[in-house]
């Protein structure tokens, strides 16, 4: 399998605090890779570095050979690396359907001027967007509430909408920010199968997460961080038996790490 994302010696310092220290790993095409670690391990900083929302102090991130770190976030998105946010990040005053439709603009073939003038190309784009939006909404179980204003949605639907927005950009690599946070067992299982279906659509998925059970179930490979450094990398069973990982999580209940 080809490597599509490479994280090379990534380091991020905030003043005196080193949040991420010399982390390197790669993500293979069409795999589901999870980044885990105890609280404060630097997962969320790493996530922002990979998605280009933070610039590294040193090191770089490349996608399909091209550097995406140290650039404006929209450039990473245009290259196919799209992140989701935690659930309250949607366009509040637009309808659910419009939220998803507007996110398609990355894949527009008509120019902005074309959209303004209502050219034939633009109209074809609009039709495509609408169709695609409906398909995505139904894929995520959101059909029927397309007309609701996004700010009125309940918690669970907000999360799904966030993913719908990400999917609309037709990403190659989707970065999920704690997709299972705050979910009960049933919700988690549903979300797990949804992430699997994402892979079936041809996506590669990198996710950052706390929920061990879900991570063990869904991941092809796992990267473990502790105190900003990578302490382990491997398949779920390798990670579960990794002494350093167990030590890092010492004090955490056994069930939490899937034993």
């Amino acid at each position: 399998m080809a490597q599509i994302l490479e994280v090379k010696a990534l380091t991020k310092r905030f003043g005196g605090l080193t949040a991420v220290n010399d982390v390197s790993f790669a993500v293979n095409e069409k795999e589901i890779l999870s980044v885990i670690g105890p609280n404060g391990a630097g997962k969320s900083t790493l996530f922002k570095l990979i998605s280009s929302f933070l610039s590294p102090t040193s090191g770089e991130v490349t996608f399909k050979g091209e550097r995406i770190s140290n650039q404006s976030p929209h450039i990473a998105a245009r290259k196919g690396v799209v992140r989701t946010f935690q659930e309250t990040t949607i366009f509040r005053n637009m309808s659910v359907r419009d939220n998803v439709i507007v996110a398609h603009q990355l894949r527009a073939r008509a120019s902005l001027l074309g959209f303004f003038l209502g050219s034939a190309e633009a109209r074809r784009d609009e039709a495509r967007f609408a169709e695609s939006a409906d398909e995505i909404l139904s894929f995520l179980g959101l059909d029927g509430i397309g007309g609701e204003f996004a700010r009125n949605l309940p918690h669970g639907h907000l999360r799904a909408l966030g993913i719908a927005i990400g999917l609309a950009t037709k990403p190659t690599l989707l970065l999920l920010d704690e997709p299972f946070a705050g979910m009960n067992h049933d919700e988690t299982m549903k979300a797990v199968s949804m992430v699997r279906k994402l892979r079936e659509r041809g996506l590669t998925v990198l996710l950052v997460e706390h929920d061990m059970q879900a991570v063990m179930k869904i991941s092809d490979r796992i990267v473990v961080l502790n105190f900003g450094e990578k302490i382990a990398e491997g398949t779920p069973s390798e990670i579960q038996n990794n002494q350093r990982v167990i030590e890092a999580y010492l004090g955490v209940e056994d069930e939490a790490i899937g034993l």
Partner: protein, 320 residues
């Protein structure tokens, strides 16, 4: 759709037929200047509204109105240009200037951006005083009225000097420009671009994550906004035939912003209605003498308490 079309037709009839008829019947030809001002000021306010649309508070439109006015005046007086050609040039000049200014300042948000734009208006006034070509405090006066506008020998607009009442001509010109401006704004807001701008206004990070080049989009919107300011200023000096460093001040910049608020930030036609109400209201209150400002501001406060989302929030559904 038919209701909107009917509304549009009524509006056009009112502007082009009813108002001139009423004026000729009542003999109040001074009102032409009032309505011309309303039309031009609403164009400038529309620019400010557009900046609001991308999530910035713009109290600097007066700077571009002044800039546009001076560009037009200088081109007419020192280079013998025709008034008509100075209009797009004044607008473009302001747009380019605003791109240069906008690139650094549009990163600022909220009050910080607002305060910088406030300063900008004042800076423009000081520049007008200091730079030799603008003739300092004396301003540029005795600007000739617009000449004829003809394309391929076909005279679209006659020489204003030959008209019996050039005020009517300026009124029509301003009204036409205002309608074109708002038509384009309406189209913009309801197109895909409008939705993208809306996404930018609502959540910059999220917009960025879906590939919107937020820096570029902001600058583009600001450039269009400043173009409108410059255009309004240029037409204004054609009507008043003079320009001074004090022609557009901080007060005007604040007023453009207030026009948008009063009409309603969520509505494309907000600035038009807001300008009409505020300008007419202020002028109507003139007869109250020293109580003018008191009544004006008290009315504004009451309006804000009752309709905090602007006048148009009464009837229309939110257009965003």
């Amino acid at each position: 759709m038919t209701k909107k079309l009917a509304g549009l037709i009524v509006f056009l009839i009112t502007v082009f037929i009813v108002v001139p008829w009423l004026i000729s019947v009542t003999g109040r030809t001074d009102l032409y200047y009032v309505f011309t001002s309303v039309a031009l000021l609403s164009i400038a306010s529309a620019g400010v509204w557009l900046t609001f649309y991308i999530g910035r508070i713009n109290i600097g439109q007066g700077a571009y109105a002044l800039m546009g006015g001076y560009v037009s005046a200088i081109l007419i007086m020192y280079y013998g240009w025709s008034f008509w050609w100075t209009l797009p040039v004044a607008g473009m000049f302001c747009a380019v200037a605003s791109i240069l200014i906008g690139i650094p300042i549009l990163r600022l948000r909220g009050v910080y951006f607002a305060m910088v734009t406030l300063i900008l208006t004042e800076v423009m006034r000081l520049l007008a005083l200091a730079v030799p070509i603008t003739n300092g405090a004396k301003g540029i006066t005795s600007i000739p009225p617009p000449g004829p506008l003809s394309i391929f020998g076909f005279v679209l607009v006659p020489d204003f000097a030959t008209l019996q009442n050039p005020r009517i001509a300026f009124y029509y010109l301003s009204a036409v420009l205002m309608i074109i401006c708002f038509a384009l704004m309406y189209r913009l807001v309801h197109s895909r671009i409008g939705h993208i701008c809306m996404s930018l206004q609502q959540n910059e990070e999220l917009a960025s994550s879906i590939g919107v080049n937020i820096a570029a989009l902001r600058v583009m919107a600001y450039a269009i906004s400043s173009f409108l300011g410059g255009l309004a200023g240029a037409v204004f000096i054609g009507a008043t035939q003079s320009i001074y460093p004090s022609s557009f001040t901080v007060t005007d910049s604040v007023n453009f912003m207030l026009n948008c608020f009063l009409g309603g930030l969520g509505y494309v036609f907000g600035p038009m209605l807001g300008t009409l109400v505020l300008y007419l209201g202020w002028n109507l209150l003139f007869s109250t003498g020293e109580y003018q400002l008191l009544i004006y501001s008290a009315a504004m406060i009451v309006l804000m308490l009752v309709l905090p989302n602007g006048l148009l929030s009464l009837g229309a559904k939110r257009k965003d």
